[in-house]
């Protein structure tokens, strides 16, 4: 029973967090907690994989917990198993990383107790099978991650981040609660099985879908509900940031998939319009935000927003195809989305680990204070580069495969009958292409400014390579990125049961295709072979190197940089993150962020330095959240006057209430 194993693992994690409370301050605590979490996560991962690959029937289990007359239902089906695998893989690698990284933690007693609980929360969400259990686990996950965000609460920004995060999380949970309330109906059929059986009316299903989009989307970081994400994810310790960005957002995606494709009944075609539009906007906005950042972890967090957008584009397509009964296309789109879920969890964790390594080595998150780290931390630099290539969707790594599949799904959509989609999908495709290109730009910036060039500060100059555990975790993930890039067929086939369960169709068997290439629909239509491309590049590259070194020269001389004859030794003359983004800021930022540049050029003869300042404004916050906050403040101020009345005025309130009620009575009949 894989499900029992999973539950046991969750229980073990909870117990572990209790233990952590006790031993939190002791020296060995870090090793114990993270080591134990690593073991448990690995076991759970094994269980999940075995279920995904071997078991066909879902396992069910009911415990006498939660709402008394319902009990706590758990269920492990293909979808849960897949996401469970994602969660556990992330958890395992994060624990491995933290074995080294956690040693640098200043206040371990604020991290250790919540870390295993956080893992347990995510595990329970994906196996929950009734509304109450789901929501409890969901909010428990938010709560523990909130505590982890507040671990370094003395930094004022972190406190604010935690606050925004918690409020948004509660908002999302309420939205989901309403969605479930809708699906459960007045007589409270709270188990998912009952909801599936209920076959809700189209309008009910649609409303539930919207609410689910709000609820799950706010946790996943759908624009415009993403505002908490770039605040909270960087604030947490890096291995937690990795989990939040790489895994927790995926759990949110799971929540959406579960409701939209499983519980909400047969979809109507126009549901997908909302999802697609939001997905496209999210993708582009996310990467544009990311490009404007110079805080490494915040850049990564914003980039998560972009990838969530890509995933939701895939899901939207799946909904659209399913609504029109194009099951194979739906299976393709869903598989693309899920594959991207997996890929993103890999390289986003990897990148956050890298940023964590940089953080411990230099104490800096701000790219403007880094640079040249490739000399000081070669291995970290290498794996980080792998992560950058993967997330930029460049072959032959894994990021490209899932985006390629998404493109293939988009190319199938002209056959959709409904006009709304006919017009929307190409635009979404353009947005997707745009975001892909911008992502590459973004990571050229991130990598170039952080690791390349010359060190900009003493801290960057004196950085040292990070510890073995961290490197092991990062190399593990980098290896998986490559594997998933050159042998995507394996992973696509592994996803087949999920598609079959949710859509009723699956992508064609990939493992049989010649040369291990992937063929989504038909070989004549489109195919891609990561392995061959990888081999070609490797061979031709090394061939060129070999030939040149043999037949031509292999001499090499070190000299100062030429730089058109004006070499300047000061590292300040390098391009910074801000200046690197300047062209793109001019092209897109002026529209999206109302970016303004102020140049203060001293007149000739004046010796004061010239100053350049670029101002950005966050459109989402300004248009949506600022008014809301202001409104609440105003309301609070006005109502607050009621605290300062005289007794007589309070009495008149009572009196007024009495008279009103009597009037109601008088006019009742």
């Amino acid at each position: 029973m894989t499900l029992t194993v999973t539950l046991a693992c969750a229980a073990a994690l909870l117990a572990l967090s209790v233990v952590a409370v006790v031993i939190g301050r002791s020296r060995a605590a870090t090793r114990i907690v993270y080591g134990a979490s690593l073991i448990i996560a690995t076991v759970s991962l094994a269980a999940a994989l075995s279920h995904l690959l071997l078991v066909t029937e879902p396992f069910r289990l009911t415990l006498p917990l939660g709402v008394p007359w319902i009990g706590a239902h758990f269920r492990l089906d293909a979808l849960s198993a897949f996401f469970l695998a994602v969660v556990d893989l992330g958890a395992a690698s994060a624990s491995l990383f933290a074995l080294g990284y956690g040693e640098h933690e200043q206040t371990p007693q604020r991290v250790l107790p919540f870390y295993p609980a956080f893992l347990a929360g995510m595990t329970l969400v994906v196996i929950a099978d009734d509304a109450f259990t789901f929501l409890v686990s969901w909010e428990f996950m938010s709560l523990t991650s909130w505590a982890l965000v507040m671990a370094h609460h003395r930094v004022a920004d972190n406190a604010r981040a935690g606050y925004v995060y918690l409020v948004m999380a509660a908002f999302g949970t309420m939205a989901l609660l309403l969605a479930f309330g809708l699906l459960a109906g007045p007589d409270g059929l709270y188990t998912f099985a009952q909801m599936r059986g209920a076959q809700p009316a189209a309008t009910v299903g649609a409303l539930a879908l919207i609410l689910a989009l709000i609820g799950a989307g706010s946790k996943a970081g759908i624009v415009p509900l993403h505002v908490w994400l770039p605040l909270a994810h960087p604030a947490a310790p890096s291995h937690v940031s990795a989990l939040m960005s790489g895994v927790m957002t995926k759990v949110a995606v799971y929540g959406f998939v579960r409701i939209a494709l499983d519980l909400a009944g047969p979809p109507a075609w126009w549901w997908s319009i909302v999802v697609l539009a939001l997905g496209g906007i999210t993708a582009v906005m996310g990467v544009l935000y990311a490009l404007m950042q110079h805080d490494l972890k915040r850049l990564l967090a914003y980039h998560t927003v972009e990838n969530i957008g890509i995933i939701f584009i895939g899901l939207g397509l799946a909904l659209a195809f399913k609504a029109h009964g194009m099951l194979f296309a739906a299976a393709l789109a869903l598989t693309a989305a899920l594959l991207h879920v997996f890929n993103h969890s890999l390289f986003k964790s990897l990148l956050f680990f890298g940023s964590g390594a940089v953080l411990t080595a230099t104490g800096e998150r701000d790219m403007e204070h880094l640079g040249g780290l490739i000399h000081r931390m070669p291995q970290t630099a290498f794996v980080f580069l792998v992560g950058c290539v993967a997330i930029s969707a460049l072959p032959p790594l894994n990021g490209f495969v899932s985006e390629w599949l998404t493109f293939q799904a988009i190319l199938l959509s002209p056959q959709l009958p409904s006009w709304g989609l006919k017009l929307l999908v190409p635009a979404v495709g353009a947005l997707l292409a745009l975001s892909a290109a911008l992502a590459a730009a973004c990571f050229v910036k991130a990598y170039g400014v952080t690791f390349l060039g010359r060190p900009r500060t003493r801290a960057a100059e004196t950085a040292t390579e990070t510890d073995g555990f961290s490197l092991a975790a990062m190399f593990l993930l980098a290896g998986l990125c490559l594997l998933a890039g050159i042998l995507p067929g394996l992973f696509i086939d592994a996803l087949a049961p999920v598609a079959t369960a949710l859509i009723g169709a699956r992508m064609p068997e990939q493992i049989g295709a010649q040369w291990l290439s992937i063929v989504p629909i038909a070989a004549s239509r489109s195919s891609y072979d990561g392995l061959l491309v990888f081999l070609f590049i490797a061979i031709s590259g090394s061939l060129a190197a070999f030939v040149i070194h043999r037949l031509a020269s292999d001499r090499l001389r070190r000299a100062p940089a030429w730089d058109c004859g004006y070499p300047d030794l000061s590292p300040a003359t390098q391009y910074t993150a801000m200046s690197f983004a300047q062209p793109i800021r001019r092209v897109f930022g002026t529209v999206v962020f109302r970016a303004r540049e102020h140049v203060d050029m001293p007149p000739p003869g004046d010796t004061r330095p010239a100053r350049f300042k670029a101002e950005l404004s966050d459109p989402i916050w300004d248009t949506l959240y600022a008014p809301l906050v202001a409104g609440i403040a105003i309301a609070a101020d006005h109502l607050n006057r009621l605290q300062f009345l005289t007794i007589r005025q309070f009495l008149s309130m009572v009196f007024g209430a009495l008279v009103i009620l009597l009037l109601v009575l008088a006019v009742w009949s």
Binding site: Q643, F644, L645, T646, I647, R648, L651, S652, V654, F655, L658, V659, L662, L663, L665, A666, S669
Partner: protein
């Protein structure tokens, strides 16, 4: 019961309402106190009459309390307080007498309407009596919210409570009436003592609840 009994009870109840209006009309504290004494007096009479027609002897006790305590002790005590605290003698109103009167009319009308919806099965005395009692209660409240001085507010509260007693005694055979009236007398005593002992002398030179409320929870 005979027609006469009913009429007399009715008359007394009506009289109470009338006196409540007169209270609303006052703008001198002493005068207000006298009027209130009259109010209590009429209440005592009405209670006694009820005791007589319901031949419920224990109600005489209530009547006695009303007579002695409310009609005599309290007004005298308040007279003394006003004298001792040197409260200046006119009543500070929130809204003018005219408006208050109109509001009072409205309230009486309201209570009538509400009461007349009661099915005629309930005996008429109960209904009319209740209607009057309700109006007295509402007028008392009205007085509390439209007058600024603590004293006049206390008077308002006491006439409200008279209305309650009227209702209670009007309810035929209601148990615990005496206890309730006693309890209320104690309550009122507390309030009066509170007015007196509230270290108000030490802090403020007027028994103005507003001044008392300068501290309202959180200073701004």
């Amino acid at each position: 019961m005979s027609r006469l009994d009913f009429d007399i009870a009715h008359l007394l109840a009506g009289l109470l309402v009338l006196i409540s209006f007169i209270e609303l009309y006052q703008d001198r504290l002493y005068a207000l106190l006298n009027v209130y004494a009259a109010h209590a007096l009429v209440l005592a009479a009405s209670v006694a009459w009820q005791a007589f027609i319901q031949d419920a002897p224990h109600l005489y006790l209530t009547a006695a309390i009303a007579l002695s305590f409310k009609a005599i002790v309290i007004p005298v005590a308040l007279h003394r307080i006003i004298a001792r605290l040197g409260i200046h003698r006119e009543i500070e109103k929130v809204v003018g007498v005219g408006t208050t009167m109109l509001a009072g009319m409205g309230l009486v009308a309201l209570s009538m309407v509400v009461m007349l919806r009661v099915t005629h099965g309930a005996d008429p005395l109960a209904r009319e009596d209740l209607a009057f009692a309700l109006s007295v209660v509402l007028l008392g409240l009205l007085m509390m919210v439209t007058r600024r001085n603590a004293v006049s507010q206390v008077v308002g509260f006491m006439s409200l409570e008279n209305g309650l007693v009227l209702a209670a005694t009007g309810a035929k055979g209601m148990p615990l009436v005496v206890e309730i009236s006693v309890a209320f007398s104690i309550l009122i005593a507390f309030i009066v003592i509170g007015i007196f002992l509230f270290r108000i002398r030490e802090r403020f030179d007027t028994v103005d609840v507003q001044a008392l409320d300068r501290y309202r929870g959180e200073r701004r």
